[in-house]
Amino acid sequence: MTRMTSWVGRNRGFTGAFLLFAALFVGYQMMHPRGFSTAVFIQNANESVVIGFLAMAQTVPVLMRGLDLSVGAVMTLTNTIASHVVTGSPIQQIVGMTITLAAGTGFGLMNGLIVVYGRIQPIIATLATGAVAGGLALLIRPSPGGEISSDLNWALTNAVFDFTETLGFAQDGTAAWLQPIANIPMPLIIMAVFGICVWVPFKRTVTGRTIYAVGSAEGAAYMSGLPVARAKIAAFTLAGYFAACAGLYLAIQTSSGNADINQAGAYTLNSIAAVVLGGTSLLGGVGGAIASLIGAGILRVISFYFRILSIDPLMQSLIEGLVLLAAVSIGALRTLRVKNTLELFR
């Protein structure tokens, strides 16, 4: 019990974000005419995957006190790549997906190398490489399009049942063992397998821990003999990978690729917002990718409310902005209680 309370005390940001998300989500489902139904869950999950992956992507550099302003552009780039290569036979499609993920990961690796060996501040380096990624995306797909199979789209954007049925295994989705999980939305499974199952083990490697250490105190991390350069490169590489996951899913979800640079910029900014809402500190060292998923969830649920409350869509930007400001201001109230002004500066 005391361990639990002290955990909550140490993870106040995460706890707060989780409670806010839970309250918003339950409220939304209760107000929705078809709330708590598989169809609504699937729709919600689908709309959250891309921002969820991007939030995870942004988290890793933020943890080591950097920012990756290229995550949106890398998503767009991989999105256009996927729209070309994820076609043909199932094997070809899998190869295509691998190529897409590798491209994003490689781009992230390049970011990391520039930051570490070029000694350029991450925010500026990725601002520039983001422009490059956007340009490449435009070259690859000057106008929106692509022919990703509708089967793949159907299989991955619905429930587990539809997935197995489309792919024709587990007795077309009617196998008894499958029933307990048959109604789970596939997007959540994808998040879990490609996101959480990558992040959680990574966090427990020495490299993963070094990312936290670098964000918290880079000098001390070096003095302690931690692999600082490797961790920085790994952080951006992982960001590239998660961004590629987002781009790939976006391609499958829309069955096409679109080099929309404005959309890329908006997604980058939203990814930062999601990270902060999840309780990860922009000063580094505190937080995690799971927390950012919660943050992304908060952002999405807010936009869900617009539909059911039939708020004028013109007001969306205003309300989103106000909610973001309100959320970070609540977090900031603690600073008003700080009695020693010097503590504010660290």
Partner: protein, 318 residues
């Protein structure tokens, strides 16, 4: 000591950026000479026109620099600019410019309050303010392009000429001189550098760092608002998304001019050179009729390449 040519760490990036700007102009000229047999880039009228276009970015970068010197950033620039332009055109008449500038003042106060008093990271607070401003403007215009027009004074400032020189360039020059004087010759300017270098030490030296931060954000928003007013005068009206193309180039100009993104170091002259570099880069790319895709790529490579050449980041910042 303070001449451009002495290669102190502060001046090195400025000299490199200036040399690179000349190189861009030469490449552009070589291109036009070979393809068209003329050298339009070297004509005074062309250069003046570039300066006129550059004045909008120049104002944005000037304000952005004040904030970056503190180690902060102002992402609310796009819609501060747009909101100021929209307010100025919809008020119109003699009160157009004061209306636009007061938008800047108010946004700056809010940003400054959020960052210095609530201590919310500027990256996220100004992002939220930008979103709110966008929402307010969309609500104000109903989502349509505003029908109001710029006042005659705005048009004069943005598009007219005095003795053949664009008035906008004079506005830019005036703001530049003001900022240079503030940064080098006033306690407020010195306090910006000190706060950016180490806020706790500046605070314990009796500097009211909250006021300093708020002041810098006000300066930033006022500059963005001025740019918006001028731009509306130049295009005769305000429009949605008029600010978006300025955010990243403004940051890039400041950084290419040698201002450290973590604050505390940088000279205004560098920002000026950075703006000119970006303006000419853009114009050479459009003379070459470079497709948007290549422009983006070249843009990114230039920024990374220049910073690699500067190579001024210390190995580990303990």
């Amino acid at each position: 000591m303070n001449t451009l040519l002495s290669f102190t760490p502060e001046n090195r990036p400025i000299a490199i950026a200036a040399a690179f700007t000349l190189m861009i102009i030469l490449i552009g000229t070589a291109y036009t000479l070979t393809t068209q047999g003329t050298a339009p880039m070297l004509t005074p009228s062309y250069l003046l026109q570039q300066l006129q276009i550059g004045s909008f970015l120049g104002l944005c970068a000037a304000g952005m620099m004040m904030v970056i010197l503190l180690g902060h950033i102002d992402l609310s620039l796009p819609w501060t600019l747009t909101a100021a332009a929209m307010m100025a055109t919809s008020v119109g008449g003699p009160w157009a410019i004061p209306a636009g500038l007061s938008v800047g003042l108010i946004v700056g106060l809010i940003n400054g309050f959020g960052v210095s008093y609530l201590r919310i990271p500027s990256m996220i607070f100004t992002l939220g303010v930008d979103s709110v401003l966008r929402g307010l403007m969309i609500a104000h215009t109903g989502g349509f392009a505003p029908q109001t027009e710029a006042s005659p004074l705005m048009r004069y400032l943005a598009a007219d000429r005095i003795m053949g020189l664009p008035v906008a360039v004079f506005v830019w020059a005036a703001v530049s001189i003001l900022i240079t004087v503030v940064l080098t010759r006033t306690g407020f300017g010195k306090s910006i550098y000190a706060t950016g270098a180490k806020e706790s030490a500046a605070y314990l030296s009796g500097i009211r760092t909250r006021w300093v931060i708020t002041g810098a954000f006000i300066a930033s928003s006022m500059c963005a608002a001025s740019a918006g007013i001028l731009l509306a005068g130049y295009s005769a009206k305000a429009y949605q998304g008029m600010g978006a193309p300025f955010l990243l180039p403004a940051i890039a100009a400041v950084v290419l001019g040698g201002t450290h993104i973590l604050g505390g170091r940088g000279r205004y002259l560098g920002t000026l050179v950075g703006v000119i570099l970006i303006v000419f880069l853009n114009s050479v790319l459009s003379i070459m009729q470079m497709p948007e895709a290549f422009r983006q790529i070249i843009y990114g490579i230039v920024i990374v390449g220049m910073l690699l050449v500067y190579g001024r980041e210390n190995k580990t910042r303990l």
